[in-house]
């Protein structure tokens, strides 16, 4: 490791709940250092009371998202070199969610909205029937696959201007999930799902700012999913299937 002994990052970390303040730490700069490494260093070497959330450290679980220099990021796969500004990092909890403490945001509203958007799979077969054979090449399956890699990190939800000003809005992740299921030929709850997508908190709130698409760490495009829901709900409305 070719680290200069004196090189440090000026890190400001949110302390407290909804009310609180940023606290400064000088964290040693390392090669290939991630933002999660920085937070972990602070907890292990500077202040063990710092609260934050992580699990896999490799971009699979989606639990370590935080606000880094004003943008929501998955901290375990965000290199300090990519986001540091003038040697400074400001790390806070995810926006648009209640703060539990320090860097841990309360994800309850995020997942409640998945429920409201009918984001659960409703199978057409029971476990006693044989598995339905779906060709991965079929157009329907490819449409469902386009939105399926979501890891529920909440980055899109925190990035969304519409979520910020409209607490009713389900947000990009829940609607992206809905779109995945709408395209799943094995699912049987599409009319309820489209009705939910057309309700007050649904897809028609989206202003297509595309912050979700720009910041999604998995490279998904929730804006396109929401546009798909707008098309599909319109078709269902014109056919008289939803009101």
């Amino acid at each position: 490791m070719s680290t200069t002994a004196e090189a440090t990052i000026d890190v400001r970390v949110w302390r407290g709940g909804e009310e609180g303040e940023y606290q400064s730490f000088a964290v040693p700069r390392r090669d290939s250092q991630t933002v999660l490494d920085v937070v972990t260093w602070i907890q292990r070497h500077a202040d063990p009371t710092l609260a934050y959330r992580f699990a896999c450290r490799v971009g699979v679980c989606g639990s370590c998202a935080m606000t880094v220099n004003g943008r929501p990021r998955w901290t375990c796969r965000t290199h300090v070199s990519k986001v540091v500004e003038d040697g400074r990092l400001e790390i806070g909890p995810l926006a648009n969610l209640p703060v539990i403490r320090d860097l841990a945001a309360d994800m309850t509203p995020f997942f409640e909205k998945w429920q409201k958007a009918e984001g659960t799979f409703v199978p057409s077969r029971t476990r006693h029937e044989p598995l339905e054979s779906i060709s991965p090449e079929s157009a329907e399956r490819q449409a469902a696959d386009a939105a399926i890699e979501c890891i529920n990190c909440g980055v899109c939800y925190a990035a969304c201007d519409t979520v910020r000003w409209n607490p009713e809005y389900f947000g990009p992740a829940a609607l992206n999930r809905s779109w995945s299921l709408v395209n799943d030929v094995r699912d049987t709850a599409n009319l309820q799902r489209l009705a939910a997508a057309a309700s007050n908190g649904g897809c028609h709130n989206c202003h297509s700012h595309q912050s979700c698409e720009q910041l999604c760490p998995k490279g998904l495009n929730p804006t396109a999913s929401i546009a798909g829901l707008k098309r599909r709900t319109m078709q269902a409305y014109i056919r008289g299937e939803i009101a």
């Binding site: 000003w165 409209n166 057309a198 309700s199 007050n200 649904g202 028609h204 709130n205 707008k230 709900t233 319109m234 269902a236 409305y237 014109i238 939803i242 009101a243």
Partner: protein, 110 residues
């Protein structure tokens, strides 16, 4: 009023207005370029069923489109409740419709 219903009406009226706006702009440019006087313009519009229908349709589409838009703005910026929003939408739409049709009436009816 459901979100999808408002969405469909606003999009349909938008699509309808695209050609109407184009014709409207061409008419404005034509009238100003030719230096037509008010009397000359009225001479062409008064008694014209075609212009009457054209602008009545335009006014109807604009009233619906604008009223739904204002409802959306009030919902996002003022946080009004459903009943108040619907009331605002209808009042705004009807006012636009009446004002617009009155103007159409003034230039078309001899």
């Amino acid at each position: 009023m459901s979100a999808v219903r408002l969405y469909v009406w606003q999009r349909l009226t938008a699509v309808l207005m695209v050609p109407l706006i184009a014709v409207h702009l061409i008419v404005i440019i034509y009238a100003t370029n030719r230096g037509l006087s008010a009397a000359e313009i009225l001479g062409r519009t008064q008694g014209s069923v075609a212009w009457g229908l054209f602008y009545s349709l335009f006014v109807a589409a604009a009233s619906i489109h604008g009223a739904i838009g204002v409802r959306g703005v009030a919902r996002e910026w003022l946080g009004w409740r459903e009943t108040a929003l619907n009331r605002l939408m209808w009042i705004f739409g009807v006012v636009l419709l009446v004002l617009g049709l009155r103007a159409v009436f003034a230039v078309v009816v001899p």
